[in-house]
């Protein structure tokens, strides 16, 4: 039994938990962080892209020693059918700047570094410890946690739930429901190792330049999903994710989808000859604004994936985790400095500050997007990609057909597949949800 009492217990050592623990420890709170992995990072899975701005707000000089892979200079969006991709590529030398904006990272390694900063700030980090339940008093107030260590009851004024997408403790304590199959995606990923020179040559990179490819279309076989390829220094992170409800409905296998993506003629040459060193899977919150559970209560707050804070449209998650962790910590520190109790009323400051930040503003902007993408997945992830690919091929292939005739055929193929009203309503729906 740990006899000490803490100002705050942080459950989990991902981006949100580390941000919260760091800020609270820096400001003099007595912080205990609990992590079930062998070390902080060993259970954490992400693509992964790091957004510098949100980390700078926590560790301004992070570039000096953080294990960063490559800074991104190019973004490729692909719409794919079985044999082709139609792409929008954006590359700019502006991204070769003194303080780059986005980096690829390898989460297990990055999180280990992040955790070191948390320890240096004065927090106690206890790994290999699974929190089994939240301790609640007779009024339902959260007063601490129970762990799987012997006699593992630990008390604190406030518990920061940074337990990740599954939100097991929150559910167990009746603070929230389980994630629903249509509100989370399952992504599977492999790490493909190649020499640095090979990666540079295949992706047109030099030095520490990096690149991202995001692909949607027939690779998800009509399900709502997306494939991704991120270049690290000496390996490629390659994965694909689809809604859990879609996997459940279709009987497609995640690894079957991954193999299909790897075999795609636009992808296979990029990873040819690679050595795979890890296979991982992870859930991603996809429900957007409408799926956010209660953010705080008596003696607790929830941050990051555990609060389902993920912007699926822009594929931003870890920065929302870092930001919500930081804001929760700042709110807690402010309440503590006033010697006020960690009541739901006082902790609602976290919710207020989060509402004023880009986190909730962005999620609100796209609040209708998940429903749109999830209910029309056949159109958006199968029919349109096939139509686009066909249209592009007809456009570039020179075969003596008059151009006007080609354009008419193109248009009629779209109308045949979706009808005028279908095309119009799809466009209108996207415009409305995007606005």
């Amino acid at each position: 039994m740990i006899e000490e009492r803490f100002d705050a217990i942080v459950v989990g050592a991902g981006m949100g938990g580390n941000a919260a623990a760091l800020i609270m420890a820096e400001r003099g709170l007595k912080v205990l962080q609990l992590e079930r992995g062998e070390y902080s990072g060993s259970k954490n899975v992400q693509g992964a892209i790091l957004y510098a701005d949100m980390l700078e707000k926590l560790i301004p000089n992070f570039r000096e020693d953080a294990p960063l892979e490559r800074h991104l200079v190019e973004q490729r969006f692909w719409i794919v059918d079985e044999r082709s991709h139609t792409g929008i590529h954006y590359r700019s030398d502006d991204f070769n700047e003194e303080k780059p904006n986005r980096y690829t990272i390898i989460r297990a390694q990055f999180d280990k570094w992040f955790s070191q900063k948390v320890r240096e700030a004065g927090a106690t980090v206890l790994c290999e410890t699974t929190v089994t339940e939240l301790l609640q008093d007779s009024h339902g107030r959260v007063v601490g946690v129970r762990t799987d260590r012997d006699g593992g009851e630990i008390h604190a004024d406030v518990v920061v739930l940074a337990e990740g997408v599954n939100g097991v403790l929150g559910t167990g304590a009746g603070l929230r429901g389980r994630p629903k199959p249509d509100k989370v995606a399952l992504a599977v990923k492999e790490m493909h190792f190649l020499s640095r020179e090979t990666i540079d040559a295949r992706f047109n990179l030099k030095g520490d330049e990096g690149l991202v490819i995001e692909a949607a279309g027939t690779i998800s076989r009509g399900m709502t999903g997306m494939g991704f390829i991120y270049s690290n220094k000496e390996c490629i992170s390659l994965g694909i994710g689809c809604l859990v409800a879609d996997f459940q409905r279709t009987g497609e296998t995640p690894y079957g989808l991954l193999e299909g993506f790897k075999r795609h003629p636009s992808v296979a040459p990029l990873i040819e000859g690679s050595e795979v060193k890890e296979y991982s899977a992870h859930l991603i919150p996809e429900g957007g604004y409408k799926a956010i559970p209660q953010l705080c209560g008596e003696g607790w707050v929830v941050v990051g994936d555990a609060a389902q804070l993920n912007n699926a449209i822009h594929r931003e998650g870890s920065n929302l985790a870092m930001t919500s962790g930081r804001i929760a910590a700042e709110a807690i520190c402010l309440i503590k400095s006033r010697n006020d109790p960690m009541t739901a009323k006082n902790l609602s400051l976290y919710k207020k500050l989060l509402n004023d930040s880009f986190v909730i503003k962005d999620l609100k902007k796209y609040k209708d997007m998940p429903a749109l993408m999830h209910t029309h997945s056949q159109n958006f992830f199968l029919t349109y990609p096939q139509l686009f690919s066909k249209a592009m091929q007809d456009y570039v292939r020179v075969d003596g057909t008059p151009k006007l005739e080609k354009e008419k055929l193109m248009l009629s193929s779209f109308i045949k597949a979706r009808s005028w009203s279908g095309l119009f309503s799809d466009a209108l729906r996207i415009a409305r949800a995007w606005r």
């Binding site: 079930r36 992995g37 062998e38 990072g41 060993s42 259970k43 954490n44 899975v45 992400q46 992964a48 390898i106 989460r107 297990a108 390694q109 999180d111 790994c127 290999e128 410890t129 699974t130 089994t132 762990t147 799987d148 260590r149 997408v165 599954n166 097991v168 389980r178 994630p179 629903k180 199959p181 989370v184 399952l186 599977v188 492999e190 790490m191 390996c235 859990v244 996997f247 459940q248 009987g251 497609e252 296998t253 995640p254 690894y255 193999e259 790897k262 075999r263 003629p265 296979a268 040459p269 990873i271 040819e272 795979v276 060193k277 890890e278 296979y279 991982s280 899977a281 992870h282 859930l283």
Partner: protein
């Protein structure tokens, strides 16, 4: 066009490191005579193929290769088809890259 031979998921799991907590499965399937559609869907949806159909027509889970994603919990826990928790501290999958 070069294409990698299709790999079985068992081969993928071989890349990973695990510390197996022998005799303490963190996922348990509720005994049943006929599996529910939710349980049956796990035969395909589990990314580590931990779920299998026994000769008697029951769904069984072997958690040694589990990568702790939570997919089966999302599909099967609410209905009581399975009991789900994380492994004890330090056990389970140990990601080197994540």
């Amino acid at each position: 066009m070069p294409s990698e031979p299709s790999r079985r998921v068992e081969d993928k799991l071989f890349y990973n490191r695990y510390l197996v907590d022998s005799g303490r499965a963190h996922i348990k399937v509720r005994p049943h005579t006929t599996p529910s559609s939710r349980l049956l869907s796990m035969l395909k949806a589990c990314p580590a193929r931990c779920y299998e159909l026994s000769d008697k027509g029951h769904i069984e889970v072997t958690v040694d290769g589990c990568i702790e994603c939570g997919t089966c919990r999302v599909i099967c826990e609410e209905s009581g088809d399975i009991e789900w928790s994380y492994p004890r501290g330090g056990y389970g999958v140990l990601f080197k890259f994540g």
